[in-house]
Amino acid sequence: MVKDSRMNSSPFLSLRGISKSFRAVKANDQVDLDVYRGEVHALLGENGAGKSTLMKVLYGFYHADFGEVRLDAKTVHIRSPHDARRLRIGMVFQDFVQVPALTVAENIALFLPDLPAVLDKLDILKRIGEISRRYSLAVDPRATVRQLSVGERQKVEILKLLLADAQILILDEPTRSLALHEIEGLFQVFANLRRDGYAVVFITHKLKEVLTCADRITVMRRGKVTGTLAGLEATESRLVSLMFGEDVREPSRIERAQVPDGGQPILELRGVHTPGEGGAVGLKDIHLAVLPGEIVGVAGVSGNGQRELGDVVLGLERCSKGKKYIRGQEATHWSVAHARADGIAFIPEDPLGMAAFPWLTVQENMAMADTRRYSRKKGFSMDWAAVCTDLNQSLQRLGFTLPSLFVPLATLSGGNVQRMILAREMAHNPKLIIAFYPTRGLDVRSALAARELLIASRDGGAGVLLVSEDLGELFAMSDRLVVVFRGRIVKACPPQETNPNEVGHLMTGSGE
C-alpha cells in the first residue's frame, strides 16, 4: 500500500510527445501528460478525441509511434499490458474482463500476479475484506459475478487492481453505465485512493463529474491536448471551449433558399421508446419530425441514443412503444428492405463496419444498396454496366474520384470508403437521408462537397437527419437542432435560438 500521501513536486508519471496513428488518422499527436501521486486526473474530450488511445498506449495495448513514458523520472518501455502491470499500472476497461460464473474472490485471485498453485481462500478473502473496507469498495466476495450489478462489477475491477498492487489506476469511462448514487460512490472511492497516494486517471466526457471530483483536468481534442486545468480553476464554459474548439463560437451558416411550406413530414416519430438491452441506451419518448426540405441536426455525445435513433428509422430496431410514420404512412413495422426501397439513404457512423463489404469489389458494394434494381432475368444475372454508370455519375456529382471500381473495397483508404458510401447512398435521389458524421474522415474539399450535396438534396425536397458531434457542422447546416442525452431529446429548437455553448452543456448533461 502506498503510504506517502503528500503530493510530490515531480510527477509520478509523465508522457512526452506521444503520437499514434491508425493508417492516416492521427489518434494521438504529440501528447504530453503528467500525473502526480495522490491526484485524481480527468481526461476529458469528445469521442474520438484520442483519450482511450492514449491510455491504451500507456497500458501497453498499443505501441506509440513516437514519444516516451517516464515513471518516477525514469524512461520505461511498456510493450504489453503485462509490462504495465509489472510497473504497477492498472486499467479498468469499459467492458469488464470477468468470468461471470466464478465468485468475486475467484475472479480477483485469477488476476493476482503471485497466485500460488494451491489457493489460500481465507487469505484472499481477508485481503479483499481489508481493502474493500479501507476504500469503501463493499462487495460480497462470495457472490458470483453474474449476480452483481454493473457498479459492483466495477468495484471488483478496482479491487483487482488494488490487490495486484497497482499504483496508477486508469479507468475508461467508468461512469458510463452507472446510476447516480453509484457515481457518487465511485467518487468517494477516488477520494479514498487519493488520500493514500494512488494516482487515478479517468476518461470521461461529462463535465459535471469532472468538476466534482478531479484535481486536475486534461482536455483533448482531435488527438491533441488543448489544455490542462486545475480542478479549482476550471469552469464549465472554459472546458466546453477547450473540448469543442474555438470554431464553435462563430459557425458560418448556410441559409436555406426557401422555407418549406410545412406539408407532410417525411419522417415522424411519435413517443418512440426502445428497450435498450444489454447496456445499450434505450430511446425514451422520442417525438421528432423531419419535414421535406429540412435538415434536422441531432447533437449529442455518441452513445446517447443516436445509433438507436437511426436504427429505428431504418427499421432495424423495433419500437417497444410509440409509432413511426414515413411520408404519412404508418411504418412502425416496416422491414429494412421496405424502408430502403422507399427512398431512405443511410450513411452510418462506421461505414466500413456498418455499410460496406470489405472483401467485395467497389462495384459490388455499389450494387448492394439496391440489388433488385440491378438484377436482370428475375435475379439470375446482374447488370454490372448499369451499376458502374450509376456509381460514376454519383461520384461525378460529388466531385469524387476512386482509384478503381474493380478492387476489393478493403484496399481503399478510409476516406475513399466514406466517399464510396456517400456516392452509393446519394445515387438515387433519396427522400430521407440519415447521415451519421457524414464528413468524418474526409479532407476539407470532400467534406465541403458532401455538405453541399446534403444541402442540395434538402433544397430538392429531401429530408435530412444529420447526426454529428461537430457542433460547427451542426450549427452551419441544420434548420432545426435537437440535443440528445441518455436516450432523450433534451432540447429541440432552431439553431438561431440557442448557441454552441448551451448545446455543449446539454450534450454533456450539465445543462441548467
Partner: protein
C-alpha cells in the same frame, strides 16, 4: 449466439484461386497420409503396401474406378450441402441426418407409388428426397434464424434423431414381412430404382451431383442471390442495414443444403440399396463436411477432395481384405485429415 451470421472462422476465404486450394490441400493430404502410416506401423502393418493396395484396387481397374465414382456421388452432394450454408457462416454438421431423412422420404414414395412409370416416379422420389432433407435442415435453420439455437449444435443432434427415426420405420411399420426378420423394407419397384450405366453401379445420381457442383459457383458469382449471400458472408451487419433479410437467407440456404444431402440419401437408397435399411451410409454426411472444409467451399476443390476421400472410403474394404485389419480403420485417417485441416491456421486462438 443470438446474432445471425457472425463470422466464426475463415472458411470461405476470399481470393482463394483453385490452384492455391489444390496446393494447400495436397500438402495437407500428404501430412495426413504420413500420420496414418504411423498408425498402420503400430498395427504392425506395412503402410506402403497398404497405400499401394488401396490405389491399385481403386484406380488400377475400370471396376475399381467406377466404385470410386459411385462413392463420389453422395460425397459431392453432401459437400455442397455444407459449402452452401457455409457461405453465410452457417455450420451444417447435419448432412448425415439430412441424408437419412431424404432416404426415408424417397423410400416412402418408392414404396407407395411403385405402380407409377419410372419417368414420373424418379422425379417424384427425387423431389421427396430433396424435400425430406431440406425440411430436416430447416428445423435447425429456423431455430438459428430466430436466434434460439446454434445450427452447429442442432444439426449435429438431429443426426441421431434422423438415424433413429429411420430405424423405427425399418424395424417397425415398414418392415418387409417376407424378409426373414431382417430390419429392412420391401424391395422397391423397378421403376423406383435410379438407372445405372455400363453395367457398373454408377447411377443417375451422378447428374445431380455434377449439377450441384456446376450450379453452386455460378449462382454465387452471377446471380443477385449469390451477391447477397457473399455480402452477408462479408459483413452481416452491413447486409442487414442494406435491407437483406438474413433470417430468410439462413432458412433458405439450410433448406437447400439439407435438400442436397437428402438427394444424396435418395440416390443411395434407390440406386445402391433398392430398399430401406438401417445402415445406408458409412458416414457420407460427415465426410461431406470434411470435403467442404478441405476445399474451403471451392467447387473444383470439392470435386478433387471428394475423389480422394471416395478412394479412402473404398480403401476401408480393401484394407480389410488384404491386410486383415478392420475396415473402419480408415476413419482414423479421415479424423487425422480433419485435424490437419482444422489446425491449418490460427492454431493458438
Amino acid at each position: 449466439m443470438t446474432e445471425a451470421g457472425k463470422p466464426v472462422g475463415t472458411f470461405p476465404a476470399q481470393g482463394d484461386g483453385w490452384l492455391r486450394v489444390m496446393v494447400r490441400f495436397g500438402g495437407l493430404f500428404l501430412i495426413a497420409l504420413g500420420a496414418f502410416g504411423l498408425v498402420l506401423l503400430v498395427f504392425g502393418k506395412n503402410p506402403i503396401k497398404a497405400y499401394v493396395d488401396i490405389f491399385a484396387n481403386t484406380l488400377g481397374s475400370a471396376y475399381g474406378f467406377s466404385e470410386v465414382l459411385v462413392k463420389m456421388i453422395p460425397l459431392t452432394l453432401a459437400a455442397v450441402a455444407v459449402a452452401l450454408p457455409a457461405r453465410i457462416w452457417l455450420i451444417n454438421v447435419g448432412g448425415e441426418g439430412q441424408f437419412h431423412i431424404g432416404a426415408l422420404f424417397a423410400a416412402w414414395g418408392a414404396l407407395n407409388f411403385g405402380s407409377l412409370p419410372a419417368w414420373v416416379l424418379i422425379p417424384w422420389i427425387s423431389f421427396l428426397g430433396f424435400l425430406g432433407g431440406g425440411l430436416w435442415a430447416l428445423i435447425s435453420g429456423f431455430l438459428r434464424a430466430r436466434g434460439w439455437v446454434s445450427e452447429t449444435i442442432s444439426t449435429l443432434l438431429l443426426n441421431y434423431v434422423a438415424i433413429l427415426l429411420l430405424s423405427f420405420f425399418v424395424f417397425g411399420p415398414w418392415k418387409d414381412p417376407e424378409s426373414a426378420n431382417y430390419p429392412q423394407s420391401a424391395p422397391f419397384a423397378d421403376a423406383a430404382v435410379l438407372p445405372s450405366f455400363f453395367g457398373t453401379r454408377v447411377h443417375m445420381g451422378l447428374f445431380y451431383s455434377l449439377a450441384a457442383l456446376v450450379l453452386f459457383p455460378l449462382i454465387l458469382s452471377r446471380t443477385r442471390w449469390g451477391l447477397e449471400m457473399r455480402a452477408i458472408g462479408a459483413n452481416a451487419e452491413a447486409a442487414r442495414r442494406n435491407g437483406i433479410s438474413i433470417g430468410r437467407y439462413i432458412m433458405v440456404l439450410m433448406f437447400i443444403g439439407g435438400g442436397l444431402a437428402g438427394l444424396a440419401g435418395m440416390a443411395e437408397v434407390s440406386a445402391i440399396h433398392g430398399q430401406l435399411r438401417p445402415s445406408l451410409s458409412p458416414g457420407y454426411g460427415y465426410i461431406g463436411f470434411l470435403i467442404s472444409w478441405m476445399a474451403m467451399g471451392n467447387a473444383v476443390g470439392m470435386m478433387a477432395a471428394a475423389f480422394l476421400l471416395a478412394i479412402i472410403t473404398a480403401g476401408g474394404d480393401i484394407l480389410q481384405m488384404t491386410l486383415r485389419i478392420p475396415g473402419s480403420v480408415v476413419n482414423i485417417l479421415m479424423a487425422i485429415i480433419l485435424f490437419v485441416i482444422l489446425a491449418r491456421k490460427g492454431g493458438a486462438r
